[in-house]
Amino acid sequence: MTISSSPLATDHDLWRSLLGDMIRVRVFEERCAELYGESKIRGFLHLYIGEEAIASGVMSCLRPDDAVLATYREHGHALLRGVSAESIMSEMFGKATGCSGGRGGSMHLFDAATRFFGGNAIVGGHLPVAVGLGLADQVLGRSGAVTVCFFGEGAVAEGEFHEAMNLAALWNVPVLFCCENNRYAMGTSLRSSESQIDLALKAASYAIPAWSVDGMDIVEVHRATTKALASVRADGGPMFIEFQTYRFRAHSMFDPDLYRDPAEVEHWKLRDPIATFARRLVDEQIVTDADIEEMWERARAETEAAVAAAEAAPIEPIDTLLDHVTRDAEPAPHIERSPETTTDDEVWP
């Protein structure tokens, strides 16, 4: 392979920063796993380790006015969308300074400022919401803004997936659906749960342009996303990309991972999106080993600062328990009007 024919021949800064992004997510989450072991983080914790190329590649293509929705496996998405490591870590610690004020935890990271709409833990439930956000952009004339909706392949079996695909196509809303197909929904393999395992075909059946790409290769992820977004931004309607990927860890920290052949896991680990991409960048002399070491170092520093801040942060006082259930409304007048012409008061004074 000659360097001039490589897809990495230009945009070296981009590729360097994408590698750095993946490393940030990896370091952050490996620390999360440790903190789970130390009982600092509780509840469900779903790690994205192995899948980082998808969020890193997609997020790098987004603008501030885009909206993002993700699943409960969303630490990386939030981080790369610009939610600070500190507020994410604090959220997982259940602290007041967390990005959801300690009400959400690992599965429910939210940040209005970066238009990060969760952190959604009902499989398939956020897909219709994404359609509505896209509809609002369309109706309000926020031209070029896109709603990006991440979900696992498990969601494809849910009715809400199908309703959302149909509505999105019918209304031509600017939504990019990003299916993270890691081949398992908890312990259920795609093959054992779907009659049709070509997921792009399902989306295409709703007249949504759809294709499948290698989600372990960030260059492919970036290329596919760039192409899809150009179309969606130009009023081309919704698009669907299936990213073929694999999670290296169990579904959650509760999962003993008994349903996968360890050889299968090892096989996929050979395709680690960070290691393979780092090697390519070194081979093509875009980064040096020292650059890469510095990326890990910086990521570790970021994560440790986040842990320290989360550790030191205050918890919400108990007397805020009932906050944020409903927001105060402007009071309207109360009018009593009896439809009766007479009352018993008049009959029996």
């Binding site: 967390g98 429910h108 219709p128 994404a130 359609v131 509505g132 409304a329 009896s338």
Partner: protein
């Protein structure tokens, strides 16, 4: 309505406050909302050219076009979820679900998303969504079109649940619901659409969190909502003829429940009968009864009485359906039992 001369008040009311049907009142509310706020749009199954299952949106599509009066496919979960997203994105959607029975297909969106987002996001994301749906039995539509499930929604923190029982509330609760930053579900009892009543055309938005005393009385308090209010008022007329004075409270809001108004009434009457078209077990009537007992136990002259629908899926045959849901005579009989005069 310029003259407020006390002597002529009643005459002015009679002359100036026009009467309209509950359906027309709701339609007027929708038209007004569409005309005054560009962010407002209606969506639901057959809300456009068909004019709405109960003809509530009839004519609005012609007037405002199909982007403002948007037909949806049969996808309750999908379009309620889209309503949530649209609300998050800055619009003010009014989602019509044909009946509460079909709302069960959207329960996930309502309960898991609309009601939780504000809290889960630590107060960042509110969902200003209005859902309108019909409820109730009485038209021989059998078990999949007749249930009163508003109590299920009233169970859920994060939602507001209202049930206009008069045309005036049908007209003036909607603007308040639309101005509310939270998800509001409006239950319209299907037997009310053809009922007429006075609707002040310039009244303006009214509160959606307080009960109203619809008739004053001194012997007992009848608490009712939605389709049961007119039955309770009719029963109160019959009771009055038999020498019993019933106060009738129209709940208006099912979440929050206005216990202050109910307790104030009980302080006068010492007896309460709760009439609910939902089922008794685990129902709204149980909640009201328990709440009133907690507040008023020492001033009660009798246990709180309840009248609810029979514990069956609502049957088709007229006589069976009638027997399954509280009727005027049932309310009269329950009132006599409660007051102990026979």
């Amino acid at each position: 309505m310029s003259s407020l001369d006390a002597d002529t008040d009643e005459r002015i009311d009679a002359e100036v406050v026009p009467s309209m049907t509950y359906r027309e009142a709701m339609r007027e509310a929708l038209r007004d909302a569409l005309a005054t706020d560009d962010r407002v749009f209606i969506m639901g199954e057959d809300v456009a050219d068909y004019g709405g299952t109960y003809a509530v949106t009839k004519g609005l599509y012609e007037e405002f076009g199909r982007d403002r009066v948007r037909n949806t496919p049969l996808s309750e979960s999908g379009f309620v979820g889209a309503g949530i997203g649209a609300a998050l994105g800055g619009l003010r959607p009014i989602v019509e679900i044909m009946t509460v029975n079909f709302s069960l297909l959207a329960l996930d969106q309502v309960v898991n998303t609309a009601a939780t987002l504000l809290h889960m996001s630590g107060g960042q994301l509110n969902v200003p969504l209005v859902i309108r749906t019909t409820t109730g039995a009485g038209r021989q539509l059998a078990a999949q079109h007749s249930h009163s499930l508003e109590g299920w929604f009233a169970h859920v923190p994060g939602l507001k649940v209202v049930a206009p029982a008069t045309p005036e509330d049908a007209r003036w609760m909607l603007p308040t619901a639309l101005a509310d930053p939270n998800p509001v579900i409006i239950f319209e009892h299907a037997t009310l659409y053809n009922e007429s009543g006075p609707v002040d055309p310039v009244l303006g938005p009214v509160d959606i969190d307080r009960a109203a005393v619809r008739r004053h009385g001194s012997d007992l308090t009848i608490v009712a909502s939605a389709g049961m209010v007119s039955k309770a008022l009719a029963a109160a007329d019959l009771l009055s003829a038999a020498g019993m004075s019933a106060e009738v409270i129209d709940l208006r809001s099912l979440r929050p429940l206005d216990f202050d108004t109910m307790a104030a009434s009980l302080a006068r009457t010492s007896r309460a009968l709760v009439v609910d078209e939902g089922w008794r077990t685990g129902g709204l009537s149980a909640e009201i009864s328990a709440g009133l007992t907690e507040r008023c136990f020492w001033s009660l002259d009798a246990p709180i009485a309840r009248l609810a629908s029979a514990e069956v899926p609502i049957p088709y045959a007229k006589h069976l359906e009638t027997a399954a849901i509280p009727q005027i005579e049932d309310i009269v009989a329950a009132a006599h039992d409660l007051v102990g005069d026979r």
